[in-house]
Symmetry: C3
């Protein structure tokens, strides 16, 4: 399971996941669009534990609206890029549940 | 989908993916062999969108040949390591398309 | 395949994987519980190569016991957190074998 979260929500979520006896690995990532740091959590869990994890994510990663000025792209002369302030929804979380063929612990 | 790209190709590829309305998360990674920084893109997409993403990767990640001097391994006394300059192909991209059991947005 | 390893074991393991002609991408990660840096290796391999990789992981990532003082959580006033020194097993490795629908090289 990979969970992309807003850095402000990450500490609380990780703490609650650990208290619920889940294991978590944190990956520092960067959002493609806003180019801001966010966090991707790798959580290996049994199928039956997924609903509980989703519940914790839902309760702790509130979505909120923010005004941003997208950075101009690094390549000059791209006409299609309109540098208007846009409202984007941030916070929130995106969860990818990936099937696992095998887990091994050494 | 995980796409390992050369850092020189990453900016252009990410910009074009965003313009095509894909979502991208950037992970700073390091190549095992050359020990140079590269970038791994996490792209969550529908099955039907994969061909378009592969097309953008193919068009923007040219493969080219480079002479390199592999670093000696950090452990002394390994005879098998022959520090000859080797020609390696870099640039290019390696794409892993991973099945996803579920995607949740909060 | 994603392999979460202890940083002390990582260099040796990566070297041996490369010598066995495997490809490896290194991701700097942080353990959720101990909040210490560890390493997650992304290794794309054929099904038939998985046993050999697991063997190299098993031989090079010994598990050992360590006394640690878990850090207090960043949010005040959480009664359930008992800051007693705990013995945790570290080192070792956790391996997730993920099915892959397709691999593309450009
Ligand atoms: N091509 C595009 N055109 C217009 N608007 C765009 C866009 N790409 C992203 N946005 C908007 O900007 C917000 C931040 O995106 P960013 O890429 O920085 O940061 C993203 C990205 O790092 C990750 N993410 C979301 N969906 C993803 C996916 N399908 N694949 C990979 N990463 C994803 O989660 C973060 C938050 O995403 P969220 O959807 O909540 O919020 C997104 C979305 O509302
Ligand atoms: N054990 C080995 N013996 C001899 N030559 C080796 C080798 N491992 C890698 N090389 C060569 O060195 C280039 C750079 O590898 P590096 O590991 O730094 O950086 C790699 C690695 O980070 C990633 N990558 C490629 N295939 C991968 C796989 N199957 N699993 C995980 N990561 C992979 O993509 C980057 C570029 O790979 P690419 O194939 O274009 O180019 C590779 C390849 O031509
Ligand atoms: N299912 C999974 N999903 C994602 N990542 C996983 C994982 N299982 C292990 N990992 C990763 O591997 C590291 C070592 O885990 P290990 O189980 O050997 O050793 C662990 C374990 O013995 C213990 N531990 C971890 N979480 C715990 C929890 N919620 N309650 C009690 N002990 C915990 O502390 C050690 C260090 O944990 P830390 O989180 O710093 O670092 C973890 C984490 O980064």
């Amino acid at each position: 399971m990979l969970v992309v979260v807003n850095p402000e929500d990450a500490d609380t979520l990780v703490r609650l996941l650990l208290q619920a006896d889940f294991r978590v690995t944190k990956i520092k990532t960067v959002g493609g669009f806003l180019r801001e740091g966010n966090l991707t959590l790798l959580i290996g869990a049994e199928d039956g534990q997924v609903p509980r994890i989703l519940e914790l994510v839902e309760q702790n990663c509130r979505r909120r609206v923010r005004q941003v000025q997208p950075l101009p792209p690094p390549v000059e002369g791209i006409d299609v890029f309109i540098p208007m302030p846009v409202e984007v929804e941030v916070g929130g979380a995106t969860v990818f549940v990936l099937p696992v063929e095998g887990v091994y612990r050494f």
